[in-house]
């Protein structure tokens, strides 16, 4: 067979695979959750220091972890939580941190809620954050049958 023929025969298959893979990737992107390692450990570490310095005096961890966090945020896009903390917090001076600082704090909040770290940092980009859904471990558990 001539190479051209091979290409001619294979093309629909390749196209099909590419289309299928693209669709899967898009689906995966739209369904990416906070259980998929969306922040990095160094980012959460920075966020931990910021949290201690800027947030802890007003918050006990119990008010935004575990059941309290799940009730408030499970199922919401991550952009919503980012918008909430970056426009309302700290209460005394909302909006006073830089976007890079708010996103670090958000990474630490995810870590506080047992969501895994991954290789890449979470960016302060509402488009990216809007495509990530908040999912807590408790909500991710399969139903008991």
């Amino acid at each position: 067979m001539k190479p051209q023929l091979l290409i001619g025969v294979a093309s629909p298959l390749i196209l099909s695979v590419v289309v299928s893979a693209t669709a899967c990737a898009q689906k995966a992107r739209t369904e990416r959750t906070t259980l998929a390692g969306v922040y990095s450990e160094p980012q959460a570490a920075r966020g931990q220091d910021l949290y201690a310095g800027m947030c802890k005096s007003c918050h006990a961890a119990a008010t935004h972890t575990g059941v309290a966090f799940e009730k408030s945020w499970n199922g919401h896009p991550l952009s919503e939580l980012f918008g909430f903390i970056s426009t309302r917090m700290p209460k005394n001076e909302p909006g006073s941190l830089a976007p890079e600082e708010y996103i670090d704090v958000l990474a630490y909040l995810l870590k506080l809620n047992q969501m895994p770290a991954g290789p890449a940092e979470l960016p302060p980009d509402t488009t990216v954050l809007g495509a990530i859904r908040i999912q807590t471990h408790a909500a991710a558990k399969p139903p008991i049958r």
């Binding site: 201690a52 006990a60 005394n92």
Partner: protein, 747 residues
């Protein structure tokens, strides 16, 4: 741990005192050449830093000259002292002291006191106290802003107020408590306030939750400590928690052998209960710890000012609580007066439960050091509903006004004004005019009809929001900014909060809030004063946000800043039909306090020379110069509204942390100033002109006001950095051989 539990069951706070950790002397540092034999100036030895604000006048001024414009950029890190060795903290907000060859500080949530060799950064001694539940439920569980120092020559003491509200007198040389002071060196500050002390218990193992949720309670008869669940009664004794909570965050001040101690309280953000403990100022004998006097910051029935609480001021009444003087204090030892900056009453944004002007809330009070009697007071905000606590030690100055030599006190405030008062009488130096202000539409709120507005100096922060404040680079931009601005209630200053549901008469769902609850000036920043020139240098921020109130379904308050206390220990049961909101709908539908002031990421406020560092001449009341905190930030946007418009930079954010020397104003950007990522810097400007003279890279942002001193021929600058488990003191000095001949000059 077992031993701790045994102690908890068996003994209680009085015995906890006996469990003090005294590490003892390791080294006796050499005396400072700068201080030996030198007379005190404003309570401080030249070249030393014996008070939180350098001296009793809280000038934050040092006459040292070794570090100057020619060499500032050459400063190097001499040492770093790991404060986290004693445990975690919030942000490290301490300004150390230097006296007689030693550096003194506090560290960690336990507020461990320590002495440090200023030349090497080695710990000389440390001291701490096991406070049981008093620490666990302390409303201010952090290292605090510092400590106090006292000496009569041969004897030296470090005075510490602990998170659990004990007063300790520690031998500055050895780190051991003074056995002649109180009980084994410690006075229980919960004694002497006039409230019963009872055994405490807890129903959870966590801290107090802002503001007064998850509190301790009075122990039941025979109740024991459950060491597994960490609940129950551990033997701790304290004021009956039903009365409220009490705390401390700033050091005492020692004046003429009297230790003056106040308190902080629960935060006023989201209280559940409509009453709590009022603030009080007390004097204690520095030698014995004996309480000499008490001054009530909420005057009780029959006392001066009680009539300013028209529904009554008795402890336990609705709306009665706080008025806590939580900032550091200043004093004039020669006049025998201490100046107390007082915070606001309970709660921050709603005062419907406490009609009246609410003395001594948001005031400056001058007390006689010997007797505790009020000499005068000045109230900056009547019936405060803006969280405008007086947040900083006032600055004392001798200046010449209209040809007359005057002793004044300058109070910088959250509300963006400097209030200049005669420090003998409290009379304004320049007219301060009672001016009609906007009135609240919130049911039950009785806004005070006027507020005092200084005629000079001009403010250092944005005041409210009026049309002329808005960006107007093009007609379309001006229209858009005005449209956005009109979504919330506008006004020149003191704009009351609006109802979040828009049911007020005007229909507004928010009000503009500038300065906000963090100022203006707040405890992170504040003011340095130059006793040579009568100038002050104010570190402040300037921004814009919004404020609104609604009902917290599980709080006793009729209104508060949007919050949901339901489910917290100590909260009211959820009302019938209660449904918890989730996501950004929590609280209300307004899409954000900060974002509401921006279009495409651009603030609707014109950039102005506000915030940053502002210099005033207090002889004339004139503004002299202004610089941003660190660097101005370039502004860029993709919003089509701004196409073709060159946007001016925004002044730096955060609150500059300032000291001044013979020639320089030196400042760090503070935890919320400067860039979000390294490198971070300490800055210096010419104090006469504000001209940049240098910056030096530092390991982390300053988190408290720096201090400076001369030790063994070298001038050091020391400041706190970090938060959580990464807290440290950083010492800068010039390289060996580059010290020059500068030293302390008496002034």
């Amino acid at each position: 741990m077992r031993q701790l539990s045994l102690n908890r069951r068996a003994i209680g706070i009085a015995a906890c005192v006996l469990a003090t950790i005294a590490a003892g002397v390791l080294v006796r540092a050499r005396l400072s050449s700068a201080a030996e034999g030198a007379a005190l100036v404003r309570g401080n030895a030249p070249g030393e830093w014996r008070f939180w604000g350098a001296d009793a006048w809280s000038t934050r001024y040092s006459p040292l000259t070794q570090i100057d414009a020619s060499n500032f950029a050459n400063l190097q890190v001499a040492w770093q002292w790991n404060a986290s060795q004693f445990g975690e903290d919030e942000y490290y907000r301490t300004t150390p002291l230097y006296a007689n060859g030693r550096l003194f500080t506090v560290a960690s949530t336990r507020r461990v006191a320590a002495a440090i060799d200023p030349g090497t950064g080695k710990t000389l001694w440390h001291w701490g106290l096991d406070e049981g539940l008093r620490w666990q439920k302390a409303p201010r569980q952090f290292a605090g802003r510092g400590l106090a120092y006292w000496s009569d020559g041969p004897n030296e003491r470090v005075i510490v107020v602990t998170p659990g509200y004990h007063l300790a007198s520690i031998d500055a040389k050895t780190g051991t408590p003074d056995p002649r002071f109180g009980k084994n060196g410690v006075v229980d500050l919960m004694n002497g306030l006039g409230y019963p002390l009872v055994p405490w218990a807890v129903d959870d193992s966590g801290p107090l939750i802002i503001s007064d949720a998850a509190p301790p309670r009075k122990a039941r008869t025979g109740e024991k400590w459950d060491s597994v669940r960490k609940i129950g009664a551990d033997g701790t004794i304290g004021i009956d928690p039903a009365i409220g909570q009490i705390a401390n965050s700033s050091p005492a001040i020692v004046v003429n052998d009297v230790i003056i101690v106040g308190n902080s309280a629960v935060h006023g953000y989201f209280p559940i209960r409509t009453h709590n403990m009022p603030g009080a100022i007390r004097g204690f004998d520095v030698h014995t710890g004996r309480q000499l006097w008490k001054f009530n910051l909420i005057p009780q029935p029959g006392e001066f000012g009680a009539e300013t609480w028209t529904k009554g001021s008795k402890v336990g009444s609705d709306g009665v609580g706080k008025n806590d003087a939580w900032a550091p204090y200043s004093a004039d030892p020669e006049l025998g007066l201490v100046y107390i900056p007082v915070g606001m009453p309970l709660m921050d944004e709603y005062g419907g439960h406490r009609p009246g002007a609410n003395l001594f809330g948001t005031s400056l009070v001058a007390l006689d050091v010997k007797t505790g009697k009020r000499r005068w007071h000045y109230q900056f905000v009547h019936h405060d509903i803006w969280d405008y606590d007086t947040p900083m030690a006032p600055n004392l100055l001798d200046v010449t006004v209209n040809g007359q030599r005057r002793k004044i006190v300058a109070q910088t405030t959250k509300q963006g004004w400097v209030y200049a008062l005669d420090r003998l009488t409290g009379e304004p130096v320049w007219p301060i005019v009672e001016t009609p202000v906007l009135q609240s539409e919130v049911p039950g709120e009785q806004t005070w009809p006027t507020q005092p507005i200084p005629s000079r100096p001009e403010p250092y922060s944005q005041q409210g929001l009026v049309e002329s404040d808005l960006i107007d680079y093009t007609p379309a931009i001006k229209d858009s900014a005005l449209k956005l601005a009109k979504r919330c209630r506008m006004g020149p200053y003191f704009i009351p909060a609006s109802l979040a549901d828009g049911t007020g008469a005007s229909g507004y769902r928010c009000s503009w809030y500038a300065p906000g609850a963090s100022g203006g000036v707040n405890i992170d920043g504040g003011t340095a004063a130059d006793p040579e020139t009568g100038r002050i240098y104010v570190g402040s921020q300037s921004g814009l946000s919004t404020i609104q109130v609604q009902k917290d379904p599980c709080s006793e308050f009729r209104y508060s800043s949007p919050h949901d206390s339901c489910g917290l220990i100590g909260a009211l049961p959820a009302p019938a039909g209660y449904v918890a909101q989730s996501g950004s709908a929590r609280g209300n539908g307004f899409e954000g306090r900060a974002a509401g002031s921006q279009i495409g990421g651009v603030s609707i406020l014109k950039p102005k020379p506000l915030g940053g560092v502002t210099a005033y001449d207090m002889n004339s009341g004139d503004k002299i110069w202004w610089v941003p905190n660190g660097i101005s930030t370039p502004v860029a946007t993709n919003d089509a509204l701004f196409a073709g418009v060159t946007l001016p930079p925004q002044p730096g954010r955060g609150q500059a942390q300032i000291i001044t020397t013979k020639t320089l104003v030196i400042y760090g950007t503070g935890r919320s100033g400067g860039p979000p990522r390294p490198p971070f810097h300490l800055y210096a400007v010419d104090k006469a002109t504000g001209k940049d003279v240098g910056q030096v890279q530092i390991p982390a942002k300053t988190t408290a006001v720096p201090m400076t001193f001369m030790h063994q021929g070298r001038q050091y600058i020391v400041f706190a950095t970090g938060a959580g488990a990464n807290t440290a003191l950083v010492a800068l000095t010039l390289p060996h051989g580059a010290e020059g001949s500068g030293g302390a000059r008496r002034r």
